[in-house]
Symmetry: C2
Subunit: 199 residues, 2 copies
């Protein structure tokens, strides 16, 4: 039913629900069976929607994968708080917002699946890169100002990924068991400089 | 022949050669067949040594894997130059030494295998962590001074891993195609602060 897919009927709310149903079904399926063994068709079945609908909302399986596993709603909420506070402590709030996601057992399990997939599959890496940069770090960098925003966003992203690998993947001490406050103290100033472009 | 393994005969030079032969054979085998499909026995055969000898020199297959793939000789040489130069530009030299390894196509291919394995296999992650921390970053941190050396080493390691993921795995621009000089300029000060513990 391609006509249903390209011109969905019904009110806007119903569309949003369908999209959310697909994302939820995708999370369930990808988490249980992994990326390779999950098809768009299986996700549509799980969501109880027409088989063509996942492709209507998402250009590719990898795009749906990143959308489903990345806790984007939570990140959007966190980012508003990061951007809203005092400018001279932006770096500290950035570290805090990142820990809110990664120190949650449920969210960090999802993020770990994303990281492992991104390392092994270039198409996942490409989408993860775009999401991290455009939906997260570029927004924070632009809140500081327009100059050199891409480079500042990328630099702060690199420090954040380093913290992820050190704390959650390699579990390097004393970072792995450091408290939230210790990490904010140790890394806040570095993030502040990278995201504001001051050396 | 356990007696041969635990008390090898011959001059010290012959021992070093045997160990190097095993490491070279391991690199060949691991690169061609991957970690899982390579056995200590196959490495011994490839090296033309007694089957018990790899276990004499290395406590586990994962230890031999990290030793074989990690360009430790090159890193040792680089570190001497990092530590020897002026203290206020330590961070810049650290970035340069790291780029010397990762911008070499042959070495970066080996490092990439290590990274992918570390993400998927906790026993590889554990050894990679020890090697990176104790053989690389702790030595640089201790060259600065004894206070808080572990925490400074871990913090600088986290920034380095972030640069690896951003430049070589996710290929985030403008970091992915930045020149050596641009990266030294942008990240040198951050490394300097993290490794010296100044904020």
């Amino acid at each position: 039913m391609p006509s249903l897919a390209s011109r969905p009927r019904g009110p806007r709310g119903a569309q949003a629900d369908t999209r959310a149903d697909i994302v939820r079904a995708a999370l369930t399926h990808f988490s249980a069976h992994g990326y390779e063994a999950t098809s768009m068709r299986a996700i549509a079945k799980e969501a109880g929607v027409d088989p063509s609908l996942p492709r209507h909302y998402f250009p590719s399986k990898s795009a749906l994968f990143v959308e489903a596993l990345g806790p984007l709603d939570q990140i959007d909420g966190n980012l508003e708080r990061v951007i809203a506070g005092p400018a001279d402590r932006l770096g500290e709030r950035l570290v805090g917002a990142f820990l809110d996601v990664w120190d949650s057992p449920e969210l960090s399990a999802r993020m770990m699946i994303l990281v492992q997939s991104a390392v092994g599959m270039p198409e996942i890496a490409a989408i993860a890169r775009t999401v991290l940069l455009e939906r997260v770090f570029l927004r924070v960098a632009l809140a500081v100002g327009p100059d050199d925003a891409n480079a500042r966003a990328a630099a702060a992203l690199s420090q954040m990924l380093g913290l992820v690998v050190t704390r959650y993947i390699l579990r390097v001490e004393p970072i792995a068991s450091a408290t939230r406050e210790e990490l904010i103290r140790r890394f806040g100033p570095a993030f502040q400089r990278l995201i504001t472009g001051t050396t």
